[in-house]
């Protein structure tokens, strides 16, 4: 990141081409969806995931948000795809902040992503493990 650029190359790349900004395509045994938003700010995020054999087979996002959140959501989807659903419960914020060189003042918004994932995880647990 150049000192005069608030966006790291990783953020710029993902923002320019967010490959995971997709509605969920295809049919999955379990289809989850969770949204989160920041009160008083334009920051809305939604994840949709397809689960197969306890793994995240497919995941996509939608976001009306700042470039950092869009890039982070896109990054998250790429990371999560193929992992076990337990990954929804991972603490992602620090990893995201570091990997994308996100400035500190955006921490609150990045937490939002974690919140949405947590909620996906909870949904899965509620619907399938406990059910």
């Amino acid at each position: 990141m150049r000192p005069d650029d608030p966006y790291s190359p990783e953020v710029r790349l993902r923002f320019a081409n967010p490959v995971n900004a997709l509605p969920l395509k295809g049919a999955y045994p379990v289809a989850l969806s969770a949204a989160a938003s920041m009160p008083g700010e334009i920051c809305e995020i939604q994840f949709s995931a397809g689960i197969e054999h306890g793994r995240i087979a497919e995941i996509g996002f939608r976001a009306l948000a700042c470039p950092h959140v869009i890039a982070a959501a896109d990054f998250l989807c790429s990371e999560l795809r193929g992992l076990a659903v337990s990954a929804f419960a991972t603490v992602w914020t620090n990893k995201l902040m570091a990997a994308l060189s996100i400035p500190e003042e955006k921490t609150g918004r990045i937490f939002l992503l974690e919140d949405a994932l947590t909620s996906l995880g909870e949904q899965y647990a509620a619907e399938h493990e406990m059910g």
């Binding site: 923002f15 334009i42 809305e44 939604q46 939608r62 009306l64 700042c66 869009i70």
Partner: protein
């Protein structure tokens, strides 16, 4: 900067005209252009001469006399000097001041500081067209009112105020009238021999002059006295001490002279660009012109759009260089107080983009801006999908 950047932020800063650049460069290479204008020797007198020539050029642009002009470091300093200076000079007569909610921070923050220092300030709202309602002004004036400050052209929206009407009301009540004309000097004709303005702020880098130099006009009439902010070598009639920066003052003068020659052409040029730009982007669903051209200086087009996040819009518009709200606010992240005063909701405000253009802008730049704006909005709405706000 990447070579394909398209600069559409002329309201934040205009690049110095080539003529101005060359003139400054020649001065910077001469002894007379880099000497201390307060020195009495040959080089100093040459420097003083450059400064007086520039003062004359600026006076001509404003239809006033050179003796009425004090050079400062820019409009921020001029605003502070005028407002603090007049408020303190007249404090023994009264401590009530009047301004608008839509002023630049250099004005509004100065009034806020005066409030803390025991002055009382009335903050008048704009009407739907961004203009001051003269009846509201008349109603706000009191026996102890000393100063009214209303900007000429708004830096975010381009809204124009009627200086003649406001000035007449102030004169009538023996109240000083200050106007921040940073956005209009050199772009619209201001005739200070006719318009009853007492104090007028300007800055060179808004009309193709260099950054770091401005001026304050101070009318020659009883009661129009101000106190200085700074003390020192006695320059500028003791109102603004410090070595006068010769190349900057001369650059300001050259820019003023050029502006006088080009004013009509410049105006026609930006008018046609604005029409073209709005014609292009009005096709975007949910886009809104903050104020219509009929009430604005046409070098500025402020638009908002539904269902798009502002920071992402700005990044998606790169390499267009445009402003989100005022350049002076853009780092703070707060929603623009100007757009709020106009009644825009925070969602619209955060999506607002100010396009501003000038001499160097071409029709191709505008076409490219239209194309990129449409593309950016479409792409962001695509990313937002269902998450998209109504």
């Amino acid at each position: 900067m990447s070579a394909d950047a398209i600069y559409l932020d002329y309201a934040a800063a205009t690049p110095p005209a080539p003529e101005v650049q060359e003139f400054m460069q020649a001065l910077l290479m001469s002894t007379g252009g880099t000497a201390n204008a307060a020195a009495t020797h040959l080089a100093g007198r040459q420097a003083a001469r450059s400064i007086e020539i520039a003062r004359g050029q600026l006076a001509e642009l404003l239809h006033t006399t050179p003796g009425r002009l004090v050079f400062t470091s820019g409009a921020t300093e001029s605003d502070n000097l005028a407002i603090q200076g007049a408020a303190h000079a007249r404090a023994h007569r009264g401590r009530h001041l009047v301004t608008m909610q839509t002023e630049h921070k250099a004005v509004s923050d100065t009034f806020r500081a005066l409030e803390k220092a025991g002055f009382e300030v009335s903050w008048l709202p704009p009407d739907a067209n961004g203009r001051l309602d003269e009846r509201q002004l008349t109603a706000a004036l009191r026996a102890d009112t000393q100063l009214v400050s209303v900007m000429h052209v708004n830096n975010e929206t381009g809204a124009i105020q009627d200086l003649a009407a406001i000035g007449a009301i102030c004169r009538d009540r023996d109240v000083l009238f200050h106007t921040d004309a940073a956005q209009s000097v050199g772009k619209m004709d201001i005739d200070l021999s006719a318009v009853p303005v007492d104090l007028l702020s300007l800055t060179a880098h808004k009309f193709y002059g260099p950054q770091g130099i401005g001026a304050l006009y101070i009318a020659d009439r009883p009661g129009c006295q101000i106190l200085p902010l700074m003390h020192g070598g006695g320059q500028e009639r003791r109102l603004r001490p410090g070595t006068l920066p010769v190349h900057l003052v001369a650059g300001l003068g050259a820019a003023a002279s050029l502006a006088r020659q080009k004013m009509d052409d410049d105006h026609a040029h930006v008018s046609s660009l604005r029409a073209r730009l709005w014609e292009g982007i009005r096709r975007v669903e949910g886009v809104r012109e903050t104020l219509p051209e009929s009430v604005c200086y046409p070098g500025i087009l402020n638009v908002s759009v539904a269902g798009v996040e502002g920071e992402s819009l700005l990044l998606a518009l790169e390499p267009l260089c445009v402003a989100s709200g005022s350049a002076c606010n853009s780092q703070s992240g707060e929603p623009s107080h100007v757009l709020r005063a106009l009644g825009l909701d925070d969602i619209s405000i955060q999506s607002a983009i100010r396009f501003s253009f000038g001499r160097g802008t071409t029709a191709e730049h505008i076409e490219e801006a239209v194309r990129r704006y449409m593309q950016a909005v479409a792409r962001l709405r695509d990313i937002a999908g269902d998450a998209r706000a109504a």
